[in-house]
């Protein structure tokens, strides 16, 4: 990813900041400039909305054929996370083995390195998810 594109997306990647339609209340992540349900009524009115970072695993897969830069993490878990605010987020699940993950598992967002542009390029940070240990131990 080129530097300006990453820079433009840093707020939602760092802090899970999406948008909310003031007309119908739907929350979007990644952020949208227009609500697809309300169309022009929402134009220019979308509000920033911070997700809580909590969620549950809706579905997942184990990746054995890694994408570039993920060789040292394979096999790794990619999941769709259902958030209480509404949006479903695709993200990596870390700090857990593939055999331990399950649908419905409570997870929470953490701040991690996502990728880096070679040894001299920028490091891209963003969200991944880990098991929500406090919820699991309840």
């Amino acid at each position: 990813m080129v530097v300006p594109r990453f820079w433009r997306e840093r707020r939602h990647r760092y802090s899970l900041i999406g948008t909310r339609c003031p007309v119908c209340g739907t929350v979007y992540f990644p952020p949208r400039n227009v609500c697809p349900k309300c169309g022009r009524k929402s134009l220019g009115k979308m509000e920033e909305f911070q997700l809580s970072g909590k969620g549950k695993i809706y579905s997942y897969t184990i990746v054995h054929q890694n994408v570039l830069g993920y060789k040292y993490q394979k096999p790794y878990i990619m999941a769709i996370i259902e958030t209480p605010e509404g949006p479903k987020i695709t993200a990596q699940i870390v700090d857990i083995e593939p055999e331990e993950v399950h649908i419905g598992m409570p997870v929470r967002a953490v701040f991690r390195r996502i990728t880096e542009d070679g040894k001299a390029g920028i490091i891209q940070y963003g969200y991944k998810f880990v098991p929500d240990w406090e919820e699991l131990e309840k």
Binding site: R11, Y72, V94, F111, R112, R113, Y125, W133
Partner: protein, 347 residues
């Protein structure tokens, strides 16, 4: 009253046992346990670094008490493993919490950069320049494979927000002691630090900690028995007890904040995380002495009193230090090399 308004720590989940490192290098498994009093150490995951640890520690602090980004006037991040040689970690922290008007800078002073950050923020709050400031000590410290540091260099960090209102732990005073003592160093471009072996002890660790602690106790008029807790820099599990004994502190005063036997030396994170473990259990009126040590060499000493406000403070909103220490996953030496990016490949 100027002091700690909220605090939070982060320790990665992965651990490697000293016995596993000893097995790799042909040492007796009991050698690091007996010689250094280090049973195991924390290891950052492949996608963790000093910046991610700093963010997680600060988020834990904000879970306990949310201070809006626009009220944060300063961010100082102490580390000797900043992810970039040129590009601040502090600006990343500012972006994460939306503190766009903060005075922000990275600090480096071996293992005492975290407490140096605390002193800077404390001074700015006391001077009335800022309302709140963030001080972080964070590291994913480097140790040459096979060296004594391989057993100790670990990962972790702690964030403090210092302010004047609703202070849970008042910083009564702070002093420093510094000399040009080259006990441990890393030259520009070198991957691993070098050290002076036994020279890191008497003229470095012990001289600076004892000097700073004595200067502080003389200044504020306290004696070791006036303190409920003491935390000293902890490069291994033995030095803190030894320096404490020489100053007149008991093992009981030191135990709660001595983490190195279970997570290794978190460098800039070490004294702040020991202090964090004490704040996890402290009661109103408890008095704490905290003394860091950074090679090269200097010590920062703090005299701290826990206030009644801690009773209203939501400590349970974020994981406590000893809970994070006890939540762990063991890895072998090969995985450790992979996580620490020590495997050399063709570019």
């Amino acid at each position: 009253m100027v002091g700690i308004v909220t605090y939070g720590s982060y320790i990665p989940i992965y651990r490697i046992k000293s016995a596993e490192i000893a097995r790799m290098w042909g040492d007796k498994p009991e050698h690091p346990e007996k010689g250094l009093n280090i049973l195991e150490k924390s290891v950052p995951a492949y996608d963790e670094d000093a910046a991610t640890i700093a963010v997680e520690a600060l988020r834990n602090a904000l879970r306990r008490k949310n201070i809006p980004g626009e009220k944060i006037g300063a961010i100082f991040v102490g580390s000797e493993s900043h992810p970039y040689a040129v590009k601040p970690t502090a600006s990343l922290i500012a972006e994460v919490i939306g503190a766009y008007r903060a005075h922000a800078a990275d600090l480096e002073f071996a293992c005492k950069a975290g407490t140096a950050a605390m002193q800077n923020v404390y001074a700015m709050v006391k001077a009335g320049m800022i309302e709140y400031g963030v001080a972080i000590g964070t590291d994913t410290s480097q140790g040459q494979p096979g060296d004594a540091l391989d057993f100790s260099a670990s990962a972790g960090g702690t964030a403090f927000i210092i302010g004047k209102d609703e202070v849970i732990a008042e910083i009564n005073d702070t002093v420093s002691y510094v000399t040009d003592t080259p006990d441990f160093w890393r030259r520009e471009g070198q991957r691993y630090p070098s050290h002076g072996g036994r020279f890191t002890g008497e003229p470095a660790y012990f001289k600076h900690i004892i000097s700073a602690a004595k200067i502080l106790m003389e200044k504020v008029g306290t004696k070791p028995e006036d303190y409920d807790y003491a935390v000293f820099h902890q490069p291994n599990g033995k030095f803190p007890y030894r320096v404490g004994k020489r100053l007149g502190f008991t093992k009981e005063q030191i135990k709660q904040g001595l983490l190195t036997p279970y997570i290794g030396n978190t460098y800039s994170g070490a004294t702040p995380t020991g202090l964090s473990a004490i704040l996890d259990v402290a009661k109103p009126g408890d008095r704490i002495l905290a003394v860091s040590f950074g090679s090269g060499a200097g010590s920062d000493a703090f005299d701290i009193t826990v206030t009644d406000e801690i009773e209203n403070f939501n400590r349970d909103a974020a994981p406590k230090v000893w809970d994070m220490i006890n939540r762990k996953k063991y890895i072998d030496y090969a995985t450790y090399l992979k996580f620490r990016r020590m495997i050399v490949e063709v570019d």
